[in-house]
């Protein structure tokens, strides 16, 4: 920026210079606070998440499969919880991402401008609905349906533990719906950024509209679409309140009709009453989630950077 000196002929120059310096200092501190916040979150997650790892043993926690925090001889294995988060998130993204990407194609390429002007705000609205409402609908509408399906499927399986419909599939469906707006919005802007000449050239060469979309537009927007999918993944793995009740309440293998706990829901469900070592283990779960999220964030930054460079 240019000289910071004031050129006003009125007023006291010294005072003005002081005000200028104070203003700049205050703004710098504001910007610095974001850095401080991320740094303290990282430090606090590590400080609070690691003690249990050493007390219980890294192997026992991360690779143990028995979760009995309240037992006399407690056991804190969270392998199933980690696996549930990975499997559940992957499944939700596999369902939600294609639907989201195709909806974005509809908004950007197929729909008339007037229709797009209705659909796009509607999708943005979907993003604003509080997650507890998704949870409420999940438990009130989805779970009973799943229960019926469960009864029909497992009528002849005496050793199946009935979950009342609160199972992995229900949670995956709720998550898939919840990531839709993120995937759609980011994909729409990625498609929008594709140079119009590419589309024109493809159509001029005789390719059909659909061929143009799938052979030219989508490949051309792939880094933006990758960002959309990664953002959706982050949203799905971090979602807590919507699936706490929908996914059931016991730690199990992530099989479709099992009642399961995700990293997030394990924290929400037990944080209220946990104390001592149990509470520390919950923070370890938080730390695991945090590591996942940081990994996702960094890959997102890489993708976006790669796009800028190309």
């Amino acid at each position: 920026m240019a000289e910071k000196q004031s050129f006003s002929i009125k007023g006291n120059r010294k005072n003005k210079a002081l005000v200028e310096h104070v203003a700049e200092a205050v703004f710098t501190v504001c910007a610095l606070l974001a850095v401080v916040a991320v740094a303290s979150i990282t430090v606090y997650m590590i400080i609070n998440g690691t003690p249990a790892l050493f007390k219980v043993g890294i192997k026992e926690i991360l690779f143990g499969t028995v979760w009995q925090p309240a037992a006399k001889d407690p056991s804190f294995g969270i392998l199933y919880v980690i696996l549930t988060s990975i499997v559940g998130t992957t499944a939700a993204v596999l369902i939600g991402a294609p639907v989201g990407i195709l909806t974005a194609v509809f908004i950007e390429e197929i729909a008339s401008p007037r229709l797009a002007a209705i659909v796009k705000p509607a999708v943005e609205l979907l993003a604003g609905i509080p997650s507890v409402i998704y949870g409420l609908l999940g438990i009130y509408l989805l779970n009973p349906m799943m229960y019926k399906l469960e009864i029909a499927l497992f009528a002849d399986a005496p050793d199946h533990q009935f979950t009342g419909g609160a199972n992995l599939i229900s949670a995956v469906i709720v998550l898939a719906v919840m990531i839709l707006p993120t995937v759609i919005n980011v994909t729409v802007s990625a498609l929008h950024a594709v140079p119009k000449q590419q589309k024109a050239a493809s159509l001029a060469m005789g390719a059909t509209r659909i061929q143009t979309i799938f052979k030219v537009l989508l490949p051309s927007a792939r880094s933006g679409i990758a960002a959309a999918v990664v953002l959706g993944t982050g949203r799905a793995i971090g979602e807590a309140m919507a699936i706490t009740l929908v996914s059931g309440s016991s730690v199990n293998m992530p099989l479709p009709f099992n009642s399961v706990r995700f990293l997030t829901t394990a924290i929400v469900a037990e944080m209220g009453y946990a104390a001592g070592l149990h509470r520390q283990v919950l923070f370890t779960i938080g730390l695991v989630l945090f590591v996942f999220i940081m990994f996702i964030n960094i890959s997102l930054t890489k993708i976006l950077k790669g796009r800028e460079d190309s």
Binding site: M1, E24, G100, G135, L136
Partner: protein, 289 residues
């Protein structure tokens, strides 16, 4: 768009299938939205009446009202914005007006993006051990936690808005002898106001809908503050917002009440959404001038 291809007469089955798939997905997405909104209003409408909105919950008397939770929600929105708006706007001004491109700026940008990606449950855990250690389960703990959470929303929108202010405004103001701070105060901030307000309203939406970050920070109290001193004391008392109460009611299986709260929440979210649209429109008009 039509007849863009000379091969139009030839019908391709794969094309038609894919097109049908695209339509299906779009209808699914929009149908879900309409279904969700329609169902919540239809199911919750019966519960919502005047006394539901203006009375305080009292389990002993068997009265269900969400007045306490509504007040808590407003309280936490105001408190959070009081902290987050100046910090967010200030940070954006620094990044856009003062900073020279370099390591520090990219660090700040990176942390702002990181904050956007951190899930609310992590904010909840952090708030619980960081602010909660000092203030316990209280409105203040909740608001401070949410301040960090909505900071990127306000900072980003302010930055976007500042970027759209033409450079000629800046050089014009500086050229006639305004100091930098004077220029920011009287030229930049007013020009960027619609963008800043959009950020603030998005932040309100996020706070109103937030639950995971508040459950272990602000807690779940549902009493109304008593008098002026009560309003101050509330800072250090626990208080559950509407979303928290909704979660607790649904965990208890009281779906009528839960849908009633969902109905109120959804109406609020719709209203905020319209407001954002209106402001975004204003911002665009300013650009065109």
């Amino acid at each position: 768009m039509e007849h863009a291809s000379i091969m139009n007469k030839k019908r391709r089955v794969s094309d038609q299938l894919l097109e049908a798939l695209i339509y299906l997905c779009a209808f699914l997405a929009v149908g879900l939205l309409l279904g969700i909104i329609g169902y919540v209003f239809w199911r919750g409408f019966r519960t919502v009446n005047w006394s539901f909105l203006v009375t305080e919950q009292s389990p002993t008397k068997g009265i269900m009202g969400i007045a306490g939770n509504i007040v808590n929600t407003l309280y936490i929105v105001v408190l959070t914005l009081l902290a987050a708006t100046p910090i967010g706007v200030g940070g954006a001004i620094y990044l856009n007006e003062y900073a020279k491109p370099g390591k520090f700026v990219s660090l700040v940008q990176f942390t702002i993006e990181t904050l956007t990606g951190i899930p609310s449950i992590i904010f909840g855990l952090f708030g619980n051990v960081f602010f909660g250690k000092i203030f316990g389960y209280s409105m203040l703990t909740g608001a401070l936690t949410l301040t960090i959470m909505v900071l990127p929303l306000i900072a980003r929108n302010t930055q976007e808005a500042l970027r759209t202010v033409p450079d000629s405004y800046r050089s014009g103001a500086l050229g006639i002898g305004a100091t930098k701070w004077y220029m920011i105060r009287t030229i930049l901030l007013p020009s960027a106001m619609p963008g800043i307000l959009t950020g603030v309203i998005l932040a309100i939406g996020r706070i109103v809908g937030e639950s995971a970050a508040l459950l272990f920070t602000a807690g779940s109290g549902y009493y109304l503050p008593k008098g002026g001193m009560g309003l101050f004391r509330k800072l250090f008392e626990s208080g559950g917002t509407m979303t928290i109460e909704l979660y607790l009611q649904m965990a208890k299986g009281k779906y009528d009440v839960a849908f009633g709260i969902a109905c109120v929440l959804l109406a609020l979210v719709l209203l905020l959404n319209l407001l954002t649209k209106y402001l975004a429109g204003r911002l665009n008009v300013e650009n065109r001038k």
